[in-house]
C-alpha cells in the first residue's frame, strides 16, 4: 500500500493508524517562525467512528489503508447476516448486525446503499440519504387535521420510528431523511 507523508494528508485520505483504518478529516500545518513544524490532524477511526486529534512532525509518514466505498443493493436479512450485492458484478457480501450498526433501521430490500470495504471486508454501511418506506403502525389522526402541527410517532416497515404529521395514516408511504431521521413528505407513486 502507498505511504503518505504529512504534506499529503488531506481530507478524505484513508490511512492506517494504530492498526485501524482511519479517514483524515482535516490537517493543520503548525509552525513557529523559529521552530519545529507539526501537523495537527483530525482523524476518524473508521471501525469505531470515533474522532481523535493527533500530532505529527512534518515529514512523518503513515501507510495508506485499502478502503473503498462501493454501491451495493441490499438483498435480504437471514437473521444472522444481511446480504448485499454489487449490481454490476453480482458479487455478494454478508454483513453482521454489529458492522451494520444503527443504520439497520433504514434498510429496505432492493435499496442501493454505500458499503465501505477495508481489504475487501465490510467496515460500514451508509443508507441512501432519502428512503421511501411504508408506515406499519401509527395512532389514527384527528379527522380533518391537515396542518401537520404537533405530529405523532409512526413505525416504519424497516423498524425505524419517526415523527409524522397527524394526518398521515398506517399503510401510507413516506419519504424520510436518514441523516436526520426526519419525515420529509408523503410519497405518491
Amino acid at each position: 500500500m502507498a505511504i503518505y507523508s504529512t504534506n499529503e494528508f488531506k481530507g478524505g485520505l484513508k490511512i492506517m493508524l494504530d492498526n485501524d483504518p482511519c479517514s483524515i478529516i482535516e490537517n493543520e500545518f503548525v509552525k513557529p517562525g523559529k521552530g519545529q513544524a507539526f501537523s495537527r490532524v483530525k482523524i476518524r477511526n473508521l471501525k469505531t467512528g470515533r474522532v481523535i486529534e493527533r500530532t505529527f512532525k512534518s515529514g512523518e509518514t503513515l501507510e495508506g489503508a485499502d478502503v473503498v466505498d462501493v454501491e451495493m443493493q441490499y438483498l435480504y436479512n437471514d437473521g444472522e447476516y444481511r446480504h448485499f450485492m454489487v449490481p454490476e458484478s453480482f458479487e455478494q457480501y454478508q454483513i453482521d448486525d454489529k458492522t451494520v450498526g444503527d443504520v439497520r433501521i433504514w434498510l429496505k430490500e432492493q435499496d442501493v446503499c454505500t458499503v465501505t470495504l477495508w481489504n475487501d471486508a465490510p467496515l460500514a454501511v451508509t443508507p441512501p440519504n432519502f428512503v421511501i418506506l411504508a408506515i406499519t403502525e401509527t395512532d389514527p389522526g384527528v379527522r380533518g387535521d391537515t396542518s401537520g402541527g404537533g405530529g405523532k410517532p409512526a413505525k416504519l416497515e424497516s423498524g425505524a420510528v419517526v415523527r409524522v404529521p397527524l394526518f398521515v395514516q398506517t399503510g401510507e408511504i413516506v419519504k424520510v431523511d436518514t441523516r436526520t431521521g426526519e419525515y420529509v413528505s408523503r410519497f405518491k407513486e
Binding site: N7, E28, V30, K34, G35, Q36, F38, E53, T55
Partner: protein, 331 residues
C-alpha cells in the same frame, strides 16, 4: 453551465477588497517609517548563502552565466543583508519584501510571503516593543481597533497555561503533563529535546489563547530558543527575544540583536551540526555577514512581521490565501 475547477484556476485567490487593503496597509507602513526617518531599503532575494537554521528549508536556484555557474538561494529572511547595511553605517532601516521558505504551506503559511523587517539603531527591546505597538495601532485603528497591547514573559505565560517551568526541563514532568492533556504524541515527537518540547507545548497549549482582542507580546524566550537574540546579561537562562500574537496567530519575531561575531559563528556551527545530525541539506555560513559583525554591528533591535497574516486578521479572514493575489495552489 457548470463552472469546473479548471475554468476558475486562472482567477486571483483573493477579492479586490483584499488587494485594496494591502495597498493601503503598505502606504500606511511607509508613511509610519518616513515620519520616524527610518530609511526604506531593498536587499537581494538571491544570494550564495542563506540562513543555517535547521527549521527553515530553502529554495535552491541555478545561476548560469557562461563560465560562472553557481548555486544561489532564495532568502528565508533579509536579516543578514540588512545587518551588513547596518554595520556599514546605514542607520535605522526597514524593508518590505518577499521571503521564501520551502515546504511551508497551510492556513497561515505560503512558501513565498511578504515580510516587513526593520532595525532601530540605539533601541533596546522594550523601546522597539513600544514602536511595534504604535505600528499596530496605526494599522488596526481605522478598521477594527484593538484593546491595549499586553506584554508577558515567556515563562509566565507558559506557566499560566501549562503549569510547567519553561526554563527548567524535566522530562518526567513534561511527559506526565502531555499524557494528562491527551497529547501523548509529544513524548514520541519531542523525546529529550527541551526546545522541541517548548515548540510543541507552546503551539498546542499556549498560543491559541494569546491576544484574543489585543496584540500580545511575549518576551524573554528560553535561551535554547535564542535564535539571533542576545542573552540577557542579568539572567543567561533567557534571551532578549520577543514574539507577537493576535488571535492566536504568530505575527512577528524580534530581537535585541546579537552583535558578537564569535558567538554568532558558534551558533552557525551548532546549527550546521544539527543539520548534519538530521540529514538535512547542508548550509554554508554567511562569511560576509560574519565579517560585518566583526567590523562592528551598532547596538540595535530589530523585528520581522508577516504582512500577509496581518492583512488576514485585519480583514477578518480565515486563511492567508484570502489576502494573496495568487496563493500556492493558484500559481
Amino acid at each position: 453551465m457548470q463552472t469546473s475547477a479548471v475554468d476558475i484556476a486562472w482567477r486571483p485567490t483573493c477579492d479586490f477588497a483584499a488587494l485594496q487593503l494591502r495597498a493601503k496597509l503598505l502606504a500606511a507602513t511607509r508613511e509610519f517609517f518616513a515620519f520616524r526617518s527610518v530609511l526604506e531599503v531593498e536587499t537581494p532575494l538571491l544570494a550564495p548563502t542563506t540562513g543555517t537554521d535547521p527549521q527553515l528549508a530553502f529554495f535552491e536556484t541555478h545561476y548560469d552565466c557562461g563560465l560562472e555557474q553557481r548555486t544561489l538561494y532564495l532568502q528565508t529572511s533579509p536579516e543578514f543583508a540588512m545587518k551588513r547595511l547596518l554595520a556599514a553605517g546605514s542607520g535605522s532601516i526597514y524593508q518590505i519584501g518577499k521571503a521564501f521558505r520551502n515546504g511551508e504551506v497551510g492556513r497561515f503559511h505560503n512558501p513565498e510571503f511578504t515580510l516587513l523587517e526593520w532595525y532601530r539603531v540605539g533601541f533596546d527591546l522594550p523601546q522597539l516593543m513600544v514602536e511595534v505597538a504604535q505600528l499596530f495601532d496605526c494599522w488596526f485603528a481605522p478598521y477594527r481597533p484593538l484593546l491595549p497591547t499586553q506584554t508577558i514573559s515567556y515563562s509566565e505565560v507558559f506557566k499560566r497555561h501549562t503549569g510547567l517551568d519553561a526554563l527548567c526541563f524535566d522530562f518526567e514532568t513534561y511527559a506526565a503533563y502531555a499524557v494528562a492533556q491527551q497529547l501523548a504524541d509529544a513524548v514520541r515527537l519531542c523525546g529529550h529535546e527541551h526546545s522541541v518540547w517548548l515548540d510543541f507545548l507552546f503551539s498546542h497549549q499556549v498560543q491559541p489563547h494569546l491576544g484574543s482582542k489585543h496584540l500580545e507580546m511575549v518576551y524573554a524566550y528560553p535561551a535554547c530558543q535564542a535564535s539571533l537574540a542576545r542573552l540577557n546579561p542579568q539572567d543567561a537562562r533567557v534571551a532578549e527575544r520577543v514574539e507577537l500574537f493576535l488571535q492566536g496567530v504568530e505575527l512577528g519575531n524580534g530581537f535585541f540583536e546579537l552583535t558578537d561575531a564569535q558567538e554568532q559563528e558558534q551558533r552557525f556551527e551548532n546549527e550546521q551540526q544539527l543539520r548534519q545530525q538530521k540529514n538535512l541539506p547542508s548550509a554554508t555560513k554567511d562569511l560576509k555577514f560574519l565579517a560585518a559583525l566583526q567590523s562592528g554591528l551598532p547596538s540595535c533591535a530589530g523585528i520581522a512581521i508577516g504582512l500577509d497574516r496581518v492583512l488576514m486578521l485585519l480583514s477578518e479572514n480565515k486563511s492567508i490565501d484570502d489576502v494573496l493575489s495568487f496563493s500556492q495552489n493558484r500559481i
